[in-house]
């Protein structure tokens, strides 16, 4: 699909705004957009957002035979993809000039600066080395792809863990993550690209140009630097003549920006490490901001909560008669379960549960009269180990762990999540759960 053309008035407006030192998003000339780094559930997966530009980085590894002339060095491979998802102008299957340029720049920035210790990726010299592959996908294009891609690449590499290997004589053993903790790559330094856009033959300079600014700029200067202020790559494009002190000024700005970004990256990595260690929630789903589309006018809808309990009881009383079979989860593999058909009831003794009921002095009609009924309607699903939900209720029985997620208004269908081994979980536990759940409502 064709790129949306830039209209004359946009071009004129942008150039005038640059002259007045204003930018479309209210930034100053030397301001960087907000950088957001979020990590996926797996190691070596991250999304970097630079304003509205988003890049997904994914690192993978493979054991391969090394190159002939470099028998003891691992192989690093970078690949940036520009898909039509990022912008309609990017066509699939074609390598436009821009993509080739960006890929080349990325390689120069990350591989040629020797930020990864490739010697440590060697397993058996001349026979087996690790090939580290960094895939970068542009998810949304709002200018300055190279900065976002370089940040994503280095963050993904820092986050990545490769499987541990051991060599005993000729024998190479590859350990699964369960057997031995995966090991991180050894990273010497973190080169980060910073782009500068020049307007009117270098009179005006903008840091981190947005998509529309990129379209009207005269020239672009990309400087890659690490936090020790060592320049890794410098590239000028667009054919503008820059003065010596312009380049020097740019490199000074780069130093400041790189220090800020490096600090941010380390903070993000540290955060993610801590969350994983504590067993909290992580992954992309947790880091998506909630954007609500608000309506401008909304009438208040009064909700009558007077007879809610009575109504709920009524619904329970009217509930469907029990079906003939009892659902019993069959564990196929961790995280999955099947609810079988026509299997025998293994929910423990009815009498026992009655007694239990009386002991607790509960006068819950629905529970006692329709005790058998309830069992069948409860659907058991093997729980995932989600820990920090406020609706979690743990039962007192020791061998099982019961998690109730999303309690519904009607008590008819109580979705409970039980552990895998819970084959003959007692009725009593369930009744207790029900009571507790009521209390929470």
């Amino acid at each position: 699909m064709k790129e949306t053309p830039l209209s004359n008035c946009e071009r004129r407006f942008l150039l005038r705004a640059v002259e007045e030192r204003k930018r479309l998003d209210g930034r100053q000339s030397y301001d960087y957009r907000n950088v957001r780094i979020s990590f996926g559930a797996d190691y070596g997966c991250c999304i970097v957002e630079l304003g509205r530009t988003r890049v997904l980085g994914q690192v993978s590894c493979e054991l391969v035979s090394p190159k002939l002339n470099r028998a003891t060095e691992g192989i690093l491979f970078f690949n940036l993809e520009l898909s039509p998802m990022a912008a309609p102008a990017f066509e699939p299957g074609r390598q436009p000039e821009l993509l080739v340029k960006l890929n080349r720049l990325l390689e120069r920035c990350l591989r040629n600066s020797k930020c990864i210790d490739t010697e440590s990726l060697c397993v058996v010299a001349g026979v087996k080395v690790w090939q580290i592959r960094v895939d970068l996908h542009l998810l949304n294009h709002d200018g300055n792809i190279i900065d976002a891609a370089s940040i994503a690449a280095i963050v993904a590499l820092c986050h990545f863990r490769r499987p541990d290997v051991s060599v005993q004589g000729e024998e190479v053993t590859l350990y699964t993550p369960e057997e031995r903790d995966p090991v991180p790559l050894s990273i010497h330094h973190m080169p980060i690209c910073v782009s500068f856009a020049f307007f009117q033959q270098g009179t005006y300079l903008l840091v981190d140009p947005s998509e529309r600014e990129e379209r009207v700029m005269d020239g672009l200067l990309v400087i890659a630097m690490n936090k020790h202020r060592e320049i890794c790559t410098i590239q000028s494009s667009g054919g503008i003549m820059l003065l010596k002190d312009q380049v020097l000024r740019c490199s000074k700005i780069t130093g400041v920006k790189v220090a800020e970004i490096t600090e941010l990256i380390q903070k993000a990595l540290e955060n993610d490490r801590k969350v994983r260690k504590e067993g909290g929630k992580f992954g992309f789903a947790e880091s998506i901001p909630n954007q609500k589309i608000s309506a401008f006018k909304m009438e208040r809808a009064p909700v009558d909560t007077n007879d809610v309990e009575e109504q709920a009881e009524e619904i329970i009383m009217k509930a469907d008669p029990p079906s003939d079979f009892v659902a019993k989860p069959i564990l196929r593999m961790p995280g999955t379960a099947q609810i079988g058909e026509g299997l025998e009831n293994s929910w423990g003794d009815f009498e026992e549960s009655e007694r239990e009921e009386e002991e607790e002095g509960n006068s819950d009609d629905a529970t006692t009269s329709g005790g058998q009924k309830m069992e069948t309607e409860e659907i058991n699903i093997v729980s995932k180990t989600k820990k920090d939900d406020d609706t979690i209720i743990l039962s007192d029985s020791e061998e099982e762990e019961v998690v109730i997620l999303e309690p519904e208004e009607t008590h008819k269908k109580t979705r409970t999540h039980t552990t895998a081994k819970q084959e003959n979980s007692s009725k009593k536990a369930f009744n207790k759960k029900r009571k507790k759940k009521r209390a929470t409502h």
Binding site: K2, C9, R12, S294, M298
Partner: protein, 299 residues
Amino acid sequence: MTHTPPVVCAFCARGPCCARALGSGKLAGLREGLTLTMAAAETGALPVEERVGQVVLPGDVLLLPSHPEADGERLWLGPGAALPGRLVCGPGLRCCGAGLLVTKCGLLRHRQPGGAGGGSGGAYWVDSQQKRYVPVKGDHVIGIVTLKAGDIFKVDVGGSEQASLSYLAFEGATKRNRPNVQVGDLIYGQFVVANKDMEPEMVCIDSSGRANGMGVIGHEGLLFKVSLGLIRKLLAPNCEIIQELGQLYPFEIVFGMNGRIWVKAKTIQQTLIVANILEACEHMTAEQRTQAFAKLSER
């Protein structure tokens, strides 16, 4: 004899219903809509009137009301718009058999036909949140001229295909007196042809040959893009945002139904403020917006 009203696949309905539409999108309504949708999936289809203002999902089948009083094909042959039973099937709906098939998710909208109240006529469409514009007949849009070819201009409107615009379709334009339009200029016009099989066609005159505000937009000002949902909100009658914004300082603004907005204020700074506030409005509650405006008017 019963039959369903004829369905024409053209959409030219936009009006006060848009404003009403926004108010009813409350949570309760959404949830109710979803449960109803599930019910429909089990039992088949629901009458279309019952679903107006509720959430519909792709694949839902809506039954059109049948009305026994209309008899025979004779009525159908007359001029369409005058018929009470004529139904317009708008974006997000497709005519299938006796009913309507929903093709995108959103809130179902309905507008009664103008003039004599024909019970089952009017227009049905689905209001959804999206960014990609699909040309609709009668929509006023902002386009960018990309090509001058012979006696037509090619205009980019953000759709899948460029629209064509005849140079005669400007006010006062004749074969000798051509309008001054350059490549890259902005055009505010409306669609006269927009369907899935043909190239969309724009004009910059109304049916009486007057410009009526359409034509080439000035060479200054800023063009930016917002989502289609926000544009519909802003174009709704008595939109609060526009009223509040208008009290700040004078500016010119053009809304295109294709999500493009052109703004021009006295200074660059003021133009940028208007553009940014409009972009930000989409995800603000009414209180947040009032605060933002209060902050702006202090300056």
